[in-house]
């Protein structure tokens, strides 16, 4: 019951983002230069920012970006983890040790520098869409280690299980075992990881954009919109600037937390 209402609410929010073109009263980059810094009004439900852009419309478009970006990044992260975890589980102890070393190293290297390096190598005239895709691939690929650990452990446990033994006993080829036995077996772990990672990547994008290296202007994303936090002493005076975003973020991420188990845990 709770689960279905969570699904419905999440879908509604996602739909609002996806159909922002139709729902939003203004474009995300439209500047009404005669009316900057407005309080909420009928024309601008959440007021306008410094450049006279409608905050409500930007929130809708930002929701679209963040809600599409995070699951995509999570999927990438899981793909990397599966490739690595599956491979090492098969290839034996030596490789497993090597891959856990790689994972440890990934965790210790200054991620920010890797991000800067890759970003600095990009061509200049990339479209907003491309910049989103790149951001997503980057944070997805860089944040695979936690997922790799869990999935690796899952594959390991499966390989020791009776039904794989049974499959081996019947003389199935390793490839076939991988596809027919292992993949379906590991699927619940993957799905659980996916749900776990989506909020992580919503956060990652936000943290990245707080540094000014996320989705580039004028395209809004939750992280970009959160940058209002930089002038945090102004927040209490103008609650409509951040409160709706905060509520939306907490709502969506709580819904994500409820979804997989059907209960908040």
């Amino acid at each position: 019951m709770l689960r279905w209402s969570a699904v419905a609410a999440l879908l509604a929010i996602l739909a609002a983002g996806l159909f922002a073109n139709w729902i939003a009263p203004h474009g995300y980059a439209d500047q009404d230069r005669e009316s900057p810094n407005l309080s909420p009004s009928r024309q601008y439900p959440l007021g306008t920012d410094e450049l006279g852009r409608d905050r409500f419309s930007r929130l809708l478009y930002g929701t679209r970006v963040s809600l599409l970006l995070a699951p995509a990044a999570a999927a990438i992260s899981i793909a990397v983890a599966v490739a690595l975890g599956g491979f090492t589980a098969y290839a034996g102890a030596g490789w497993a040790r090597a891959s856990s070393l790689v994972t440890d190293l990934m965790l210790s290297l200054p991620t920010i520098l890797i991000l800067l390096t890759v970003r600095a190598m990009l061509p200049l005239n990339v479209s907003a869409l491309a910049s989103i895709v790149i951001t997503c691939v980057l944070i997805g690929a860089l944040n695979y280690p936690p997922a790799a650990r869990v999935i690796g452990a899952g594959v390991d446990a499966l390989l020791k299980s009776d039904f794989i033994l049974q499959a081996r006993a019947t003389g199935q080829s390793p490839g076939r075992i991988l596809i027919r036995q292992l993949m379906p077996g590991i699927r619940p772990v993957l799905i659980a990881q996916f749900w776990l990672l989506v909020p992580v990547f919503v956060m990652a994008e936000a943290n990245l954009s707080l540094l000014g290296l996320g989705v580039s202007e004028p395209m809004p994303s939750w992280g970009n919109l959160l940058r209002e936090l930089e002038n945090y002493s102004a927040i209490p005076e103008r609650p409509w600037v951040l409160a709706p975003l905060g509520v939306l973020m907490v709502t969506v991420l709580c819904l994500y937390a409820i979804l997989p188990s059907g209960e908040p845990a």
């Binding site: 965790l107 936090l229 907490v250 709580c254």
Partner: protein, 284 residues
Amino acid sequence: MALRFLAKHAVRLVLTVLIAGLLGAALVRIAPAFGVSEQELDPRLSREFVQGQRPEPVGILRYYGQFLYGVAHGDFGESPSLQRPIGELLRERLPVSLENLAFGAGAGIVLGFLCAMVAVVFRSPLARAVPVASSTVLLSLPSAALGLLFLLAGWPPAMALTAVVFPRVYRYSAAVLARSADASHVLAARARGVSPGRILCVHVLPGAAPQLLAIVGMAISLGFPALVPIEAVCDSPGVMQLALKAAMARDLPLLVVLTMVASVVVLIGNAAADISSDVLRRES
């Protein structure tokens, strides 16, 4: 046996740290704008002057060799961007970060464990609802935003780390304790009328101890990187703030040392998890 086990882990730790340092050096070296200084933009300074400020570029391996030789003699080298000895910087800043980590992550762990225990012992809806709700909300806020909010409230940055660590610790430990409390020997003890406190301490906690230890390890390896945005926004003079500055300034020697420090922390976190899972395997 135990000695060999420890020795194996120690060797592994040293090796990983050494490789991490080398990789860190290589990463900085190939990163864009290595050797660029902001002074180049200053029109008052001539090209020759700015170039003279920069140390001669050396090969990575050669640099690393010299660096390790220095470390063996207790010298970590000098940070070009801050123009101070790295050993001194670490002495000043590492305690700050470790303090943040110890108090912040420590409080998060204790709070998470306590809430999980309370939820397991008193199975009242309230005992669950409060930590579940608070942890869900805390999980939905980026650590940088948490840092800013705590700064705004005038609370120490370590508390922001608590807010990052607590919800995760609570979730995992509540699950672990619940599983441990479901064991039939716990049920049997309850059926004998043993008091809840004794059930928790004697029957539930020992069974869950290895996994709880793993959670402590997780909290450390999770809390350490979370310190980067927190120290950055809260202006807390720790090593993670230093790491961000070093990355921005492409400070090769400093980043190499900091990468090694980070790898030690990550490995200690992992070792806690590994050792406890080894213990677990031997138990079963």
